[in-house]
């Protein structure tokens, strides 16, 4: 096993002062919604943590998650985190390729069996292993093999967390999420398409600093610190929703005024994520701020939830055909019912026997 420099050494090498490091720990503590008192503990934990081995598996994915994490912002401290771990296997980022790359994965697994962290992006095809293979090994086999010795798994991106776009109807590859295959290891889901970079790095940092048990997750395995509230509740456009002011198109007056995008299909009300507060690109913006409705990408099946540009309150099924059928069926039933009623009445009329006043008493 090679010498793994401790974090402070690395920081020095990267020109980060001790003050800068402590500030980072405070920021991280706040990002994780942990009590400020924990900041020194995080600093201590990170300082004393050895660089754990990380194996990053990419399956049916678009590399967007990787692209995103490399844009994790400053002061290149997340970059530092990359160095704080020993990223032993990652197609896109590692220098090695071919056999050498696969050897690196196997070596890391052997050397750190039971202790390494597996990060997965992309979904796993179950229909036919050939749909997605790496070095002749199917995604399914590679995941099972790699997961066996893992301390924990982090599923980044909605594909790994919930199946994502490959899983979208009609799911031609039979794509599933990591949690559909691995059931005996702790799995943390960090969904998003892609996830917010600082969310990925923060969760990894918390894992390193405070351990798996410190990460509280919701029923979908998402860390509550980042997936506890809806975008709608934290959206800066929320006052417009409350006032009933909506953009009706992408270039209308409402859009220019920055009104609520609900009617353009915004999924903010049903989407849990910190997009509206943490934002992207060093807190610069997020989709709604850029004028586009939220797609709901941190939620399972977001691709199939009724169309991106259909308002949440509108039906998403085949109601038009059903409605037309109902019109025809209702008309037929109504005419049939009316005809039956007329027949009842006609029968009564023909059964009528004229009476005179002497016919109105009962025989007693």
């Amino acid at each position: 096993m090679t010498h793994k420099p401790m974090l402070p050494e690395l920081m020095k090498a990267h020109g980060v002062s001790r003050r800068g490091f402590l500030k980072y720990c405070a920021t991280l503590t706040s990002a994780l919604a942990l009590p400020p008192a924990l900041a020194p503990k995080i600093a201590y934990a990170l300082e004393s943590a050895a660089r754990p081995s990380v194996i990053w598996l990419s399956f049916q994915e678009c590399t967007g998650c990787t692209e995103a994490i490399t844009r994790s912002h400053a002061p290149t401290i997340e970059d530092l985190i990359f160095n704080a771990i020993s990223l032993d296997y990652h197609h896109t980022l590692q220098a090695a390729s071919g056999h050498a790359a696969e050897e690196a994965r196997k070596a890391a697994m052997e050397a750190n069996y039971g202790n390494y962290l597996v990060i997965v992006d992309g979904s796993i095809p179950l229909d036919n292993p050939a749909y997605s293979c790496i070095a002749g090994v199917s995604n399914l086999d590679m995941l099972k093999e790699t997961a066996a010795g893992a301390a924990a798994i982090v599923a980044v991106g909605t594909c790994a967390a919930f199946g994502g776009i490959p899983h979208a109807n009609p799911n031609p590859t039979g794509a599933v999420a990591v949690s559909d295959i691995i059931t005996d290891k702790p799995i943390i889901n960090i969904p998003g398409c892609p996830p917010i970079p600082i969310v990925m790095t923060s969760v990894i940092a918390q894992f390193l600093a405070l351990g798996l048990d410190s990460i509280e997750v919701d029923e979908l395995g998402r860390p509550k610190a980042f997936f506890g509230e809806t975008i709608h509740d934290r959206c800066y456009r929320r006052p417009f929703y409350d006032k009933g002011k909506f953009a009706e198109g992408f270039d209308d007056e409402g859009a220019r005024q920055g009104w609520c995008l609900y009617k353009l299909g915004c999924k903010g009300p049903t989407t849990k994520s910190v997009c509206a507060t943490v934002k992207w690109n060093d807190g610069t913006s997020f989709p709604i701020q850029a004028g586009h409705p939220c797609l709901g990408c941190t939620e399972p099946d977001f691709w199939d939830n009724g169309g991106f540009y259909k308002p949440l309150s509108t039906p998403a099924g085949n109601y038009r055909q059903w409605g037309l059928g109902a019109l025809a069926g209702g008309a037929a039933l109504g005419i049939a019912g009316g005809a039956a009623a007329r027949a009842t009445k006609a029968r009564a009329k023909s059964a009528h026997e004229d009476v005179n006043p002497h016919d109105l008493e009962r025989d007693t």
């Binding site: 967390a161 919930f162 999420a177 949690s179 559909d180 889901n189 029923e219 979908l220 395995g221 809806t230 709608h232 509740d233 929703y241 409350d242 006032k243 009933g244 002011k245 909506f246 609520c260 609900y262 009617k263 009300p269 049903t270 939620e299 399972p300 099946d301 939830n305 009724g306 259909k310 308002p311 949440l312 309150s313 509108t314 039906p315 998403a316 099924g317 085949n318 109601y319 059903w322 409605g323 059928g325 109902a326 019109l327 069926g329 209702g330 008309a331 039933l333 109504g334 005419i335 019912g337 009316g338 005809a339 009623a341 007329r342 009445k345």
Partner: protein, 222 residues
């Protein structure tokens, strides 16, 4: 792994809505056509007034209580108005609902703000409770009240309550879950429509027309 709340919401927006809309449309069409097809005999008495004009007029004029009536049953009248108007405002002027109507039939109108919608909804709920109370307290209403009346009252109030909870996340309600419950409660109302007295929302026009035309032929008020 999937989000059961979201699945519920999507069921409400797809299959649930399809079923509810189908039952609503087919059921109401059945009820209305059944009446229309049954028909009535032509009235041969020489008209003194204009039965058709008065029939149509009565559809509207009967919305206003006759002089003196308000004070004999204030809760029923005021409660009735507040409930109907409150429900109508909450239903017709919330942006999300206008988006729904726009999607269904392609027409839309300006939205009202949250304060107005929520006031209307809250007043409608209070009115509904008051109307329910008189169904217990008033002997006439108690005698007339059956299961149908309680069911309809409950089904009418549920969308208002669930909608309010969903938007304001009362009691830490999960928005997705409560939005789903809200839509489902509205769908329950739609399904109940043709089978209960809720049908009056459509047939009242026929009833008022007939009433007005019968009276109008005689030149009598209606």
């Amino acid at each position: 792994m999937n989000n059961p709340y979201f699945d519920l919401l999507m069921w409400a927006r797809t299959t649930g809505f399809d079923i509810a809309l189908t039952i609503l449309i087919a059921g109401l069409l059945l009820r209305v056509l059944e009446i229309a097809v049954l028909g009535r005999k032509r009235d041969l008495a020489a008209p003194k007034g204009n039965p058709v004009a008065q029939g149509f007029r009565t559809v509207f004029t009967r919305s206003v209580p006759r002089k003196g009536q308000l004070k004999v049953a204030p809760v029923t009248y005021v409660g009735g108005y507040v409930f109907h108007l409150g429900f109508a405002i909450a239903f017709l002027f919330l942006g999300a609902h206008i988006a729904l109507i726009d999607d269904l039939i392609g027409i839309q109108w300006p939205e009202a703000n949250k304060a107005l919608i929520e006031t209307a909804a809250a007043l409608a709920v209070v009115a509904g409770i008051a109307l329910g109370w008189t169904r217990i307290a008033n002997p006439v209403r108690r005698a007339l009240t059956g299961f149908d009346d309680w069911l309809v009252l409950a089904l009418s109030l549920l969308p208002l309550v669930t909608g309010y909870i969903a938007v304001n996340r009362l009691f830490g309600a999960d928005q997705t879950l409560w939005m789903a419950l809200h839509i489902l409660s509205a769908e329950a109302l739609m399904v109940a429509f043709p089978f209960t007295k809720l049908t009056h929302a459509v047939t009242f026009m026929m009833a008022r027309y007939y009433n007005g035309s019968i009276q109008g032929r005689k030149g009598a008020e209606s």
